[in-house]
Symmetry: C2
Subunit: 347 residues, 2 copies
């Protein structure tokens, strides 16, 4: 199997190195042969080539069996609203070009981290949510621009039935293998793309009679995720709502530093932490690499069908947490100083 | 002073009755004369007149000194994505026609309710956030519709410099009277309206050198609100992001049933709970009326300049909570059964 490592920006570099090391160990233990290559994306790609996603990187992605991804982003562009080339364009182009329409974000709390969350343990215990975020449509990819000499800005959100249906089916199928509950999140009381979204879910729901479907508005969902996270099983939603709700839901898992994601679709799958480039802690060697490690686990499971190998990785994470080791983001007042590890040691 | 009571749908009816009773009591105690009228909006207006906001209601709003508002919405429309007339259109039309561009949502936890939230008390204690949600622009009011025989839906988000600047100035001015911190929330790494938003904030910030400004992405903010709510003072954001983030932030205040809001702009101000019509508990007499009571307090303060009267209302709420009385949504395991009150008794 050929794996492309795409560390990108900021802590992407540090955590992806750890994810790769874990893949190496798995190959060794289970007698697989993994070959690797690297490619540029984001700010580092702009610096090197002028483009956020050079054609060469894209070709390497297409030619690989799976991509282990880091993060993109740089404060330089954030504070310059008029920048024409931006790291995020690389990420969005990758998603679009590889047809990565389904972004799976499992939110599950390791029992050992019950105390690390700002949410009460009794509210959290047992929470286990699988998000399906649509990843190649919505306001992310519609036309955008300026009018009136730059004094007015606009963005167009757009969805087709086809786009909604393919992600919805993936979510329904996943619900079948879990607790058989699907929550579709929209803002159908105000926006038209949401009304289409709801129509499609309602239309295909009868094909999955074993799955219980509910519709929630995005504002209510943002509230319910904190009030009662256990009420959710599988959640399916549009690109922008998914972006917001999954970051929020990271608090259910104790820390953003624990959350992995899989982006799948028509071709090569991409596996990445949901945290970003985190320039505030870049280069300090303190970033939590477990999201990248768990992304490697998703890669093994989903792209390579290596269930046992994937579980070995998850178990290893569990053991390390049980043994009391923490990175700074998941340490609490009770963690002994010598059990708070840096990125490499945690790896 | 002439107050228009607009209960709208669901529990809007029950809670607004309590809000009005409190205004009556204030008039009596402080020697004011308040006159009242009622008007229809939402589902009840559609049933009676075929329109979600009849011209008569709008005229009455314009002619009053302040509006005490309930809620709009009905499950009937939510499950019918193709409905042409919807309760929410009444609310949106009211906001637009009255020029209510600034929606103030203060999120403050009454100390007595520390235990009622799903967030840990040590994370919450002292949290005090004032949201400024833009209320008459964004994807709520842009063109929307269908293409390709209804197979594709679109929504246009739009903002002008003027629209961003007027809400931003209100937020900067409020920050000055508080802890002098302003967090502007956008998604400038992806959408153009957010880039314009950030440009405007950056441009006017130097006029408020005493206010410390930060920019956050909406996804990160959704996470930070739960992780560390105390880091926020004043938050200013666009209509859709504000809708989502303030519902989420309701958990900081223990319950959505505690949160009041003020919608202000060019003319008459509108005061309303941030909870919705809540048809699941409508007619049961169990809704928490305190959000309406606290909305009445905002009305007295902002529209009538009656600070003392407003504080009297807030103190009364505080006293009632101190005395141990709760509605179901803010009761916890430790609340004695006979201290759990219904809507009227709490009023
Ligand atoms: C970096 C940014 C463009 C991206 C997004 O909004 O999709 C990120 O927040 C994510 O969730 O992957
Ligand atoms: C009912 C709905 C249209 C409304 C909104 O989205 O603005 C509500 O959620 C609110 O926050 O006032």
């Amino acid at each position: 199997k050929h794996i492309l490592v795409v560390p990108g920006d900021g802590i992407g570099q540090e955590v992806t190195a750890v994810g790769k090391k874990v893949l190496d160990k798995i190959a060794e233990k289970f007698g697989h042969e993994f070959t690797y290559d690297e490619a540029l994306i984001g700010h580092v790609a702009i610096e090197a080539t002028g483009e956020a996603l050079p054609e060469e990187s894209l070709n390497k992605m297409r030619a690989s069996d799976a991509v282990l991804f880091g993060a993109v982003g740089h404060p330089k562009y954030d504070n310059d609203p008029s920048a024409k080339v931006r790291p995020e364009q690389g990420l969005l182009k990758m998603r679009k070009e590889l047809g990565l329409y389904a972004n799976l974000r499992p939110i599950k709390l390791f029992d050992e981290l019950l105390g690390a969350s700002s949410i009460k343990p009794e509210v959290l215990k047992g929470a286990d949510i699988l998000f399906f975020r649509e990843l190649t449509g919505d306001i992310y990819f519609g036309e955008k621009g300026r009018e009136n000499n730059g004094d007015t800005a606009f963005d167009i959100a757009r969805y087709s039935r086809f786009e909604v249906e393919r992600i919805a089916r993936k979510a329904f199928e996943a619900a079948r293998t879990r607790r058989k509950k699907l929550c579709s999140v929209d803002k159908a009381n105000v926006i038209e793309t949401s009304r289409l979204w709801r129509e499609v879910i309602q239309k295909i729901a009868p094909e999955y009679p074993d799955v219980e479907v509910e519709h929630q508005f995005v504002d209510a969902t943002a509230m319910l995720l904190i009030k009662d996270p256990r009420r959710f099983d599988v959640v399916v939603t549009a690109n922008l709502f998914g972006d917001i709700l999954t970051d929020e839901a990271s608090q259910i898992a104790g820390s953003m530093g624990m959350l992995a994601s899989a982006s799948i679709g028509d071709g090569t799958g991409v596996y990445e932490p949901i945290h970003g480039s985190a320039h505030d802690i870049t280069g300090k060697g303190v970033a939590n690499p477990l999201a990248s490690v768990l992304s490697a686990a998703l890669l093994l499971d989903i792209s390579f069908g290596m269930k046992e190998e994937s579980e070995a990785v998850i178990n290893a994470v569990d053991q390390v947490l049980k043994a009391g080791f923490r990175t700074g983001d998941i340490a609490d007042a009770g963690t002994p100083k010598d059990q708070v590890l840096g990125t490499e040691a945690m790896g």
